[in-house]
Symmetry: C2
DNA sequence: ATCAGTAAATTGAATGATCATTCGGTCGCC
DNA sequence: GGCGACCGAATGATCATTCAATTTACTGAT
């Protein structure tokens, strides 16, 4: 369903097609889900949970900036490697399909990311500004980079990725 | 139609409702537009054209950074003052409804913004990195700020706006 | 001024599709 | 023999789009 929805849009993918693709009957889907929207919502939660884990993987112990860089790269790689996930959260996961309520339910999945930046602020590695601003800016820069790649506006070589990370870091890092 | 589409989503707004809201008959709409999608596309172009103009308004002559700040604020104010426009470009203007083709057609409307940053690079005010990266990062930071406000995650006081601008500037400005 | 003539604008009921969802029934397993 | 998983045709709506009919706006001739 993820694939179909990303390619055609939510309302252009009939449940009949979803059923066919999944090799089940339409009725079976309705046996497990209340309605079409609930399937979409579960898809959303799955993806958030997924990248919430990936994001924090393989962090080096020491340097804070190095950790930031790895996190940035983790998320970037996740989206580049899972274009469907990216396109889903970017283009499909919009109100009123995905409500604020559902978004809130997904917050715990990424709580550790928030904690990471809070620690950064305490340790004077990260600007002392509202945490939501930090998160949104950092997250947004990754999204921007992925967009550039998928729209084929930039090739996103190693150098370009490093530039993007550097810009992103300069936006959030502590200033003397 | 903008209003209806933003509130209900494209496929949840029947042309009959659009017609009623506009006090015309359905047929009349089809006299002026090929189909539903074309109306949406014209909406998109209108909005891009609109903020392309607003963005460059009232720029002070002197300081480059000051100009950047005004541009940033211009776009921020535009979106905050036109929530429908914001929600439309953010949530509705997605493929396959708005194709890459349509996006390309709208590029000329914002060519002067590109020129502004190119000049900035020449004058060593802006980082010497691919222009698309600059544009996407700068634009993205405004979007992030507007999102925070609309989601009521941040109040976006004058201070918070200034912080966001500062972060955005640090991301794109020239580094010695 | 008036009016016939005509082209464009407008109308909205009818058409033909497409879908989400339901539910009576089947199947396989314990 | 009973229970849950599974099936998919049938239902009831909803829509985008069409088009024949009607109205309006404009022209120039009288």
């Amino acid at each position: 369903m993820l694939e179909l929805v990303v390619k055609q849009g939510v309302h252009a993918t009939p449940m009949s097609q979803v059923a066919k693709e999944a090799n089940v009957a339409v009725g079976t889907i309705y046996h497990y889900f209340e309605n079409k929207n609930e399937v979409i919502q579960e898809l959303y939660k799955m993806i958030v949970k997924d990248y919430g884990v990936v994001l924090m993987a393989n962090l080096p112990e020491e340097d804070f900036k190095a950790q930031f860089e790895i996190m940035w790269t983790n998320l970037y790689s996740y989206f580049v490697g899972n274009p469907l996930a990216f396109k889903f959260v970017e283009y499909v996961a919009a109100p009123p399909i995905i409500s604020k309520e559902i978004v809130k339910q997904s917050v715990p999945y990424i709580a550790n990311i928030r904690d990471f930046f809070l620690k950064g602020i305490e340790e004077k590695q990260i600007r002392n500004v509202p945490i939501r601003l930090i998160l949104q800016m950092a997250f947004g820069s990754v999204i921007s980079a992925v967009r550039l790649k998928f729209n084929e506006e930039l090739e996103m070589t190693k150098e370009e990725i490093d530039l993007a990370i550097e810009m992103s870091w300069d936006a959030v890092c502590y200033k003397n």
